[in-house]
């Protein structure tokens, strides 16, 4: 089976964006988007775990019995999260501190288990690795964007660089997290419905033209 890289990429980053379309992994999204930097850190940690767990699960997909697959997946994911945690603690202690409680909670992040269950356990190693990579990028992008919006509005800074003194405390607070996320999902749904409408219109127009051409042909005959 040929791997459709383009489809996997657009699926992960746009069409099935884990944060904005599937609304998975909401806890870290809401909690860590007070700063854009946190979004990148969390996103990369999740991406790493996603790629590794997808590859391993895809490799073992014919060995793991169907009845115990969920506990097996969870164990695999927990192992990789432990590795990430130990690495971050040693290499980037600042990021480790700011991610705090949400770092071990990557284990129960629904994105990873959902991809393991719906993609990696059914597809080859290369496709699974790509799926992990692009889903991770989609997650990272959404988190960083939300983090940037909340950081600019809530604390008047971006990536920790002060822009101005104007700040709206609401966006830095927990209520602001829910509000920003709601606006992001709503905008995403709005634009994707616009795009699919435009596509429908285009398709319909094409069909009509084709029909007209065929009719003309018939009349000529």
């Amino acid at each position: 089976m040929k791997t459709n890289i383009k489809k996997i990429a657009t699926d992960g980053v746009i069409t099935n964006n884990p944060t904005l379309k599937l609304v998975l992994g909401t806890c870290p999204t809401l909690a860590l988007t007070t700063m854009a930097m946190n979004g990148i850190g969390m996103g990369l940690a999740v991406t790493f775990v996603l790629i590794c767990s997808n590859v391993l699960i895809s490799l073992l997909r014919k060995i793991i019995p169907n009845q115990v697959r969920i506990p097996a997946f969870v164990l695999i994911i927990a192992t990789f999260v432990t590795i990430v945690r130990l690495l971050l603690d040693k290499l980037l202690p600042d990021l480790y501190e700011s991610l705090g409680l949400y770092l071990p909670l990557i284990v129960v992040n629904c994105i990873i288990l959902a991809r393991a269950e719906s993609f990696a356990s059914k597809n080859g190693v290369f496709a699974s690795a790509l799926d992990g990579l692009f889903m991770g990028i989609g997650f990272t992008l959404a988190l960083t964007l939300m983090g940037a919006v909340r950081e600019v509005l809530g604390s008047g800074a971006i990536f920790g660089v002060k822009l101005w003194d104007f700040q709206i405390g609401f966006f830095a607070s927990s209520a602001g997290a829910f509000f920003t996320y709601a606006v992001f999902i709503a905008l995403f749904a709005f634009f994707s419905s616009l795009i699919s409408k435009a596509k429908h219109k285009k398709d319909a127009l094409k069909e009509r033209e084709e029909n007209a051409v065929q009719l003309e042909k018939k009349e000529v005959e």
Binding site: C27, P104, Y181, I185, A189
Partner: protein, 202 residues
Amino acid sequence: MAEFLMIIVSAMFINNFVVVQFLGICPFLGVSKDFKSALGMGLAVTFVMTLTCLITYPIYTFILVPLEIEFMEIIVFIFVIASIVQMIEMALKKFSPTLYNAMGIYLPLITTNCAVLGVAELVIDSEQIASLIGITASGMNMGFAVLYGLFAGLGFTLAIVVMSGLREKVARLPIAKSLKGFPIAMITACFIAMAFYVFALI
């Protein structure tokens, strides 16, 4: 006694698991469409959270720390939680079919509820938990851990029940198409979060 009160206020209100710490958001949004299932989910989660603290706290303090294998905590905890949920499911099926029918569908969801793993991770972080409930880090013990689990669970129940009540009302309003589903649920949650600010002022 003062500490006891502090745990209740801190775990349920000031540091409410859902709207302040963002733990357990998935069931909070997914199972809050009607009052009855919200209450069922809340109580099931409370039960599992209490039991988890009761088991993971001693495992961490008396087994993992003396053996110096603290890094194994995530793997051990997730296994404990999955086993607890599985055992509750089997016990309920055997001894109380009515309760099983009412709660059964929520139980598998609880394993991947971050509130449960979150509380297990939180109570072993003695510095953080001590600052949350106003005791010294060395004064932390198993009693506090279990109580914190219980009241954090009740805080979750409180939030999800309030949410379900509001959502039943919001469902009758005319809402723009793009806002339907998750966005309007999150805006509702936004107002609940604002209401909880009052407790942060205490």
